[in-house]
């Protein structure tokens, strides 16, 4: 029942997979702290300058943010179904689902890039090219600093995820995974879903602001 990839310190592949997942959970705990600190700093500034954040948030593009959230949610589904396919030894389905996950991640980055271009065109880049709209003062630039730092860090996380999923796709196409050996899929799947989760909170921070009037 053991595959050739079972390391000698483990009793069986289930124990090896569980241990790998625990390792990823430790990393995710540090990531929760990482994004948590970012969102805390946002919260402090939003409480301090509510009206200015409302004005600044109004200029974000909620349609693009929503499309991106739908893309990420769907990519989490394809990723978890890929793990399921590996467990069921559905090799072709596994490759297809992994490729779909990577494609959805790339689509997210494409939409994000388009959104950044629109932000630049709207002169919303703090410090470099920022034009104050009527009623705006300096704290609106804090909002946009948060926007670019948070979404930029999220995009870096997602880019790493895309590279990892593409590597998994290549390995899956070579028949590297089986019901006995799916630990890398489980671990990268956890990472992918966490990056999805981080977006939910960034979305809540950025896009709903200033849409319903004062």
């Amino acid at each position: 029942m053991f595959s050739g990839r079972l390391q000698e310190q483990y009793t069986d592949s289930a124990q090896q997979s569980e241990t790998a997942q625990l390792g990823m959970w430790v990393f995710i705990a540090t990531e929760i702290m990482f994004f948590g600190a970012l969102i805390f700093s946002y919260t402090v500034c939003r409480i301090a300058y509510p009206e200015q954040f409302r004005l600044a948030g109004h200029d974000s593009f909620i349609l693009l943010g929503s499309i991106n959230q739908a893309i990420l949610i769907t990519s989490s589904l394809t990723m978890v179904l890929a793990v399921r396919a590996a467990k069921a030894d559905q090799q072709r389905m596994l490759v297809l689902l992994l490729a779909a996950t990577a494609a959805l991640g790339i689509a997210f980055l494409g939409v994000k890039g388009y959104e950044y271009a629109k932000d630049v065109a709207a002169h919303s880049v703090p410090a470099l090219d920022y034009v104050f709209k009527p009623g705006e003062r300096r704290p609106t630039e804090i909002f946009w600093c948060f926007y670019f730092v948070a979404t930029g860090l999220h995009a870096i996380h997602l880019s790493i995820g895309i590279v990892l999923v593409l590597l998994l796709t290549v390995r899956a196409a070579q028949g590297a995974f089986s019901p006995d050996y799916d630990a890398p899929l489980e671990v990268i799947g956890l990472y992918w879903s966490f990056v999805d989760t981080a977006w939910f909170f960034l979305f809540a921070c950025i896009y709903p602001l200033g849409r319903a009037g004062p």
């Binding site: 702290m33 301090a48 739908a70 989490s76 399921r84 467990k87 799947g189 879903s193 809540a204 319903a212």
Partner: protein, 100 residues
Amino acid sequence: MSVRTPPEPIGPYVLGWAVLLLLLGLSVLAAYEPIGPIFQPIVHFGIAATQAAIVFIIFMKLRGRPSLKWVFAAAGFFWLMFLFGLSTVDYATRSGFPLK
């Protein structure tokens, strides 16, 4: 030799995906409702937290029998409480903030 197990049911994943999309729609609709500056963040962060819980439980597989994974997952939020708590005390007792 591979040990084949019956595929996991696909239902919970598809249901989770549908509910997540529904909550996204709810969040967008709520953004255009004048619910006031107090309820606005409560509603939107509440929806985000619900979505996160769905992903953690269904997609990241925290459901099922008690597992050491629960401790590791909870640890991140446990320490986050300290970060939020102590930092809030700092800002709440600071003079000269926010800047006028």
